[in-house]
Assembly symmetry: C2
Homo-oligomer: 445 residues x 2
């Protein structure tokens, strides 16, 4: 029987197990943590995520999309909260287009159920990868009780996250392995905004809420039980930073003055402040992604910052890509891995470039009238000329255009808009005019 | 007594020991290799290097320059060898300016002698750093015989090279430590061109010889015994790459056709081909450089590719910088380390940017008539207006201008030259005309 080992039973690892078991592989998963279905969700992990088009495709290909749809909450747009508590709604796309709030733990548990249900997947929990033979496909592990084990198989997939043990013990010891980890200046802390006493939502359910405040922001995504998982992103150091929020009094003052409508809903914020740890955010790049019988997938290959909501979607798309190549090369893994890394690496870089770009957009531009005008003109133009112009956000979120392509196209579109907006006087008064439309069309030629 | 531990007894570590012992520190050096003075020089290590102005300053500050001058060979310029064996000499700077070929082992041995001579430096060989307590200044080591030791001191300096054990065991385990290692497509292999039977040099002694061949090149630096250490830089893969030179016949044909004058001097090249290993080349960046009582210096902080001949010089300049800050802050190491890393990091990046730039220059431009014309115009202009224009090579090699400044100025100069050369027709016929001079002066304003 064909055999595969997957290191990591997280989102990508458990989905990929479903794929492989469908293809007739006997799948062994080793996971250093306990079974998420029996334990508490690990504290501090971003416990909900936004599923979008790429993710759904990867789920639907192996028929698990519908099970996830049951636990997904559509978010039709951004709900912006200003300092006075005024709300502005910005739809994400055209009517009916949405991204979906899902619980990390919920999706993960479902996927594990499905993988195990097929009968040929076995998950070993509390088993840590301590070494790897990349060429011969042997994963060396150690259990919580100190027992040493090894798993040999035809192919090994490392879906063990940003600080991948397979990458660390294997690839990072190879000569000429390129690697970088770059932390951004901001960290994040999660806050749980509970449901009302009657279980209803304290905020509009079908939106992703944002409190943009220039150099920092608070966001909130709905959970099924009426609560919202909120995340505060801000710098570690400096004015308005995590280092200034070390006392209950400081936390209270900060929320009261900067997020008054949020504070009104959650006056006990200072008590809940340390329920979740302060976490850091990094972009991790590396290459090659495969060696011998072993391949990196998901965050292990291309961990990114969360500002485009594409980390999970990109990892799921890795499964789609790997699956297509499996078919194309008739499971000749040498060929599959070679093409996988050459073809997919630019998209790993692409999703990272896009995420960093959106970090700067959200940080510096989201409240800038010029930026908002640009987006308005783009949306208007795109509606009339969808064949010629898909807004970058839609390319990334609602299409299967390669990330690397979307990033390139986005930069070209941005240059065109900058030029048109600089050349047409008082463009804010005629943003939907024929003149503006013609100017963009001319640039597109 | 004030105490310091230095990890690594290489060029930077041993020079820094001289500095610290001069300042009254009891210095302990731990070095994982055997005593270089008693052992063979480690095979494959680039065994000569080019000392230039920054390096000399750091040596002279502690009075060891003159001892090194005795074993240094001035190289007044580049001697280019074309396919027909024709020679062209390009001086590096003004009359009397030179870079100096020195043997790595020779300089290192002398520096160890000097450090030990002061009486308060002790070097422990065959002792490997296996762990580090950055905050408390404790270096944990293991000897060849398996004995575990530890060295605690007031301050710790990691001068243990590109793959620094202190960085790996210490800094790289910190949250939010930025790190990258990026290998270039080229590797290198050394070749020793022996002296003539009578001990004389087979090539002009006072030059750095280059055989530029577009995508690859051979260089040669003189040694004291009449030999030259030669290095072939070329891609690992592709046409004209190391992967194509795996048989004696292939090596012979390659040298005969691409470096005929070299082949004539060394017809046994194929036999000597594997005397030295094939090595890879990387840029390693990281930050922060200091934590608690521990600081990274030299390659441990900013390993670079060798194409500007500045790796050692930059490491020595780290000593100058640290020394100046020691005086400024009266050996308050907390303040010294804080200012050292903030001030020096841009120059670590700078020397890397410059080295990568020169890699591309040597690879792609050094035989380009347009590039050579640009350099000729710059040299001519600079001679007349030294206050306004110092060629980039001179800034880097013959000045103490910060690397980060040199890199910025170099880019501005390049942009000016590109503009002037594009705007003046037939500039090759009037490169030293008033028109060109005025055009550059105008751009400089």
């Amino acid at each position: 029987m064909k055999t595969a080992t997957i290191v990591g039973a997280g989102l990508v690892g458990s989905l990929w197990a479903v794929y492989l078991s469908k293809a007739g592989y006997k799948v062994t998963i080793v996971e250093r943590r306990p079974d998420i279905r029996k334990a508490e969700i690990s504290a501090g992990k971003s416990i909900n995520l936004a599923l979008s088009t790429r993710g759904w495709k990867a789920l639907d290909t192996v028929g698990v999309g519908d099970e996830i749809r049951k636990i997904a909450i559509p978010m039709l747009g951004r709900m912006m909260h200003d300092l006075q508590g005024n709300l502005t709604f910005q739809p994400y796309g055209k009517e009916g287009q949405a991204i979906y709030s899902v619980s990390r733990g919920g999706v993960n548990a479902k996927m594990m159920d499905i993988a195990e249900r097929n009968g040929n997947t076995q998950i070993f929990y509390n088993e840590k990868c301590i070494d790897i033979d990349l060429e011969n496909g042997i994963v060396y592990t150690e259990t919580k009780t100190g027992e040493k084990k090894q798993h040999q198989s035809d192919v090994v997939f490392a879906a063990d996250g940003a600080f991948s043990a397979v990458r660390y013990n294997g690839m990072q010891k190879l000569d000429r392995f390129n690697y970088s980890q770059n932390y951004i200046e901001d960290g994040y802390r999660e806050i749980l905004l509970p449901a009302n006493a009657d279980g209803s939502y304290k905020l509009e359910k079908n939106a992703l809420h944002i409190w943009p405040r220039g150099r920092f922001m608070l966001i909130a995504l709905p959970n099924e039980d009426g609560s919202f998982t909120c995340t505060l992103f801000m710098p570690f150091k400096g004015k308005n930073s995590f280092e200034t929020l070390t006392t209950k009094a400081a936390v209270n003052t900060f929320f009261k003055t900067t997020f008054p409508d949020f504070y009104a809903m959650m006056p006990n914020i200072a008590d809940a402040w340390e329920d979740h740890p302060l976490s850091s955010l990094a972009i991790i790049r590396c290459y090659p992604w495969t060696y011998g019988k072993t391949a990196l997938m998901g965050d292990a290959a291309h961990a990114t910052v969360p500002f485009y909501g594409q980390g999970m979607n990109c990892g799921f798309e890795d499964c789609s890509v790997m699956w297509d190549l499996m078919q194309k090369h008739n499971e000749n893994w040498k060929k599959v891995f070679e093409e996988y890394q050459i073809m997919r690496k630019p998209d790993g870089d692409g999703v990272q470039d896009l995420s960093l770009h959106n970090y700067h957009v959200m940080r510096d531009y989201v409240a800038d009238p010029k930026f908002l005008l640009q987006k308005k003109i783009e949306a208007h133009f795109s509606e009339k000329h969808l064949d010629k112009w898909m807004p970058l956000y839609s390319q990334v979120t609602f299409s299967h255009i390669r990330y690397s392509e979307a990033w390139k196209k986005g930069q070209i579109q941005d240059a065109i808009m900058k030029k048109v907006m600089a050349e047409i006087d008082n463009i804010e008064d005629k943003w939907n005019s024929q003149e503006v439309e013609s100017a963009i069309l001319k640039e597109l030629e």
